[in-house]
């Protein structure tokens, strides 16, 4: 074993590790550090303020609104997306050309830029000439204000998120369903087990790792929602759709309160971190029966 052989693996992983350290690991610590200062980005001096930024944040009415918006958005998006996707997967889980076509169609929004989706849905949800109001008009309902009313704006954003994520989630579920060994289904049908029993006692437990995966992935994604808000509502009307990442963005890049924005970043980091740890705990316990 020459020195070259010993050093070779380090040389091979070095570029990747350097990139990760510079642009992912170090920034985390830098953000924690910045959260302890009062700084406006241009001034040469940073003033140390300890945990004052966090105290201010928790006392801030707007920030509490932002936290509650983000939580409501996340809970609604995750339950609707995961639940509906499971139903769709059970319905569409078959291998035929037609089924493949339907699966492809519901998946397609997932690869479209969020910019396009946001603009498209702003237009569909236009209160005057939008297609959605036309459709609900056909069904005999009153026109809705969608994004322009604080009562419906957040739910409208949830709708867009569900529309975008449903197909992807359903296809992950279908992949999960197809990984269940066929003899288990056969055994169930030999036992003349009722469809509901087969579902609740067999399919659901076997699918639980997939369910947990999707719930956590969807939660982590929803907690960081930004694009749809930046393009469709800019946090309005009256703060009804401002969420964490949008809040950080505004405080960092519009008001230049770097310490304050970093502190809210640290709070988001804690939330995402907890979710990630839960996910890995559950994953390592392998929550289904083998």
């Amino acid at each position: 074993m020459t020195l070259w052989h010993k050093l070779r693996p380090y040389g091979m992983v070095a570029p990747a590790i350097i990139i990760f350290s510079l642009f992912f690991i170090y920034p985390i610590f830098y953000m924690m550090y910045l959260s302890l200062f009062d700084w406006n980005f241009v001034s040469p001096t940073k003033t140390y303020v300890g945990l004052q930024n966090f105290a201010d944040l928790l006392a801030d009415e707007d920030f509490r609104k932002v936290l509650s918006n983000t939580t409501i958005y996340t809970v609604l998006t995750v339950t609707l997306t995961t639940g509906l996707a499971l139903l769709l997967a059970l319905w569409l889980n078959r291998k035929s050309f037609f089924h493949g076509f339907v699966q492809g169609a519901i998946f397609s929004p997932h690869i479209i830029s969020l910019v396009s989706i946001s603009l498209l849905w702003s237009w569909l949800m236009d209160p005057e000439y939008g297609l959605l109001n036309w459709v609900i008009g056909l069904a005999g309902f009153e026109k809705l204000q969608w994004l322009s009313h604080p009562g419906t704006s957040l739910v409208s954003l949830v709708m867009v998120a569900v529309w975008k994520g449903l197909g992807y989630n359903a296809l992950v579920f279908i992949a999960g369903l197809q990984s269940i060994p066929a003899d288990i289904y056969e055994a169930a049908s030999l036992d003349r087990s009722k469809p509901w029993t087969t579902f609740s006692k067999l399919i659901l437990p076997m699918l639980s790792p997939t369910i947990f995966f999707l719930v956590i992935i969807n939660m982590i994604g929803s907690f960081q929602v930004f694009e749809t808000i930046a393009i469709m509502t800019q946090g309005g009307p009256v703060n009804s759709t401002s969420t964490l990442v949008y809040y950080i963005y505004e405080y960092g890049f519009r008001f230049f309160k770097i310490g304050y924005a970093s502190a809210s970043g640290v709070i988001l980091l804690v939330i995402v971190g907890i979710l990630t740890i839960i996910y890995f705990k559950l994953l390592s316990n392998r929550v289904h029966y083998r």
Binding site: I25, S108, V272
Partner: protein, 307 residues
């Protein structure tokens, strides 16, 4: 089903009057069941078509709007097929900003990221999969932690970093943070681990240089995973709005998604025809690629979910 029908036919032909009656009831039931099944089948197919409608209609509407005149977008109830196709909308959208530059930037950045990712993830994942070395656990830990950190979380400190390096508003600034991919290393490492030892040993006995073994033997064997990852990476960065938005302050390095989002600021809020035309410029290439390699793309995204 067939058995039940046979049985009813059989018993009807040889049975007594009473039995015949029972058979009539049974065959009636069978017919009913058949009809019910047919109805269910129709509902099933209709439901699936409805589902396709929910997901395809918005895109059809986008195309339709992009070809309308402005007054035509304001007809209520809406018209689906414009009276005259106004191709001018596409030119209008294209002329709201330096679109050629947006387009070139989008290509340069997405391709640049992809090339650098290939150069960094192939050796790294091979080393993690195939060599034993001190600290490999710790170093792979860094990869796993990175996999968990979303860009949305760290944009502020990275912005300050890039600004210190004078890399804001440059292609390099938009490429460098993604020059490697934790997800890519994770995927590729698994693929390399599945290749049998004998194959490598045989190549080593032939005195082939290690880099030659990697490039000429190992990489071709993991090609499907590489293609999968490349599709995933290219689509993600082609579509990205957040990162270029945050890391640029002027037009020099801005990409298509930013240009499309800006049409509204230039043209005013309600010019939906121009907006949808611009939107289509962004969406069309991705949709075309999707129709051409749907299977591969779905695999690329879903694989991430199943592993």
């Amino acid at each position: 089903m067939l058995k039940a029908v046979n049985r009813t036919i059989g018993s009807a032909s040889i049975g007594t009057a009473a039995e015949g009656k029972r058979a009539d009831v049974r065959s009636g039931k069978a017919v009913l069941r058949k009809a019910l099944r047919a109805v269910l089948q129709v509902i099933n197919v209709a439901g699936m078509l409805g589902l396709v409608l929910v997901f395809a209609m918005p895109f059809v509407w986008m195309i339709s709007t992009s070809l309308k005149t402005l007054p035509e977008t304001m007809i209520f109830p809406p018209v689906w097929i414009p009276e005259n196709f106004v191709w001018q909308n596409y030119a209008d959208a294209w002329n709201t900003g330096p679109f050629l530059s947006y387009f070139v930037n989008s290509v340069v950045i997405a391709v640049g990221i992809l090339i650098l990712q290939m150069l960094t993830i192939i050796p790294a994942s091979f080393a993690f999969a195939r060599y034993k070395f001190k600290g490999s656990g710790f170093l792979f830990g860094i990869v796993m932690v990175t996999l968990m950190i979303p860009a949305q979380l760290i944009f502020l400190p990275v912005y300050l970093e890039l600004s210190a390096f004078k890399l804001l508003n440059t292609h390099l600034g938009l490429i460098l943070p993604f020059a490697s991919s934790a997800f890519g290393i994770f995927l590729l490492r698994q693929a390399f681990m599945q290749i049998s030892d004998e194959l490598i040993e045989a190549a080593r006995l032939d005195q082939a240089a290690e880099w030659k073994i990697i490039v000429q033997i190992m990489v071709p064997m993991v090609k499907p995973v590489l293609v999968t990852f490349a599709l995933f990476s290219f689509i993600a960065h082609w579509n990205d709005y957040f990162w270029p938005l945050v890391m640029t302050t002027n037009e020099t390095a801005r990409t298509l998604p930013l240009g499309i989002a800006k049409i509204r600021d230039v043209e005013g809020v309600a010019t939906w025809n121009t907006l949808m035309a611009g939107n289509l410029i962004l969406v069309a290439p991705i949709l075309v690629v999707f129709f051409l390699s749907q299977r591969q793309i779905i695999k690329a995204f879903v694989y991430n979910g199943v592993k």
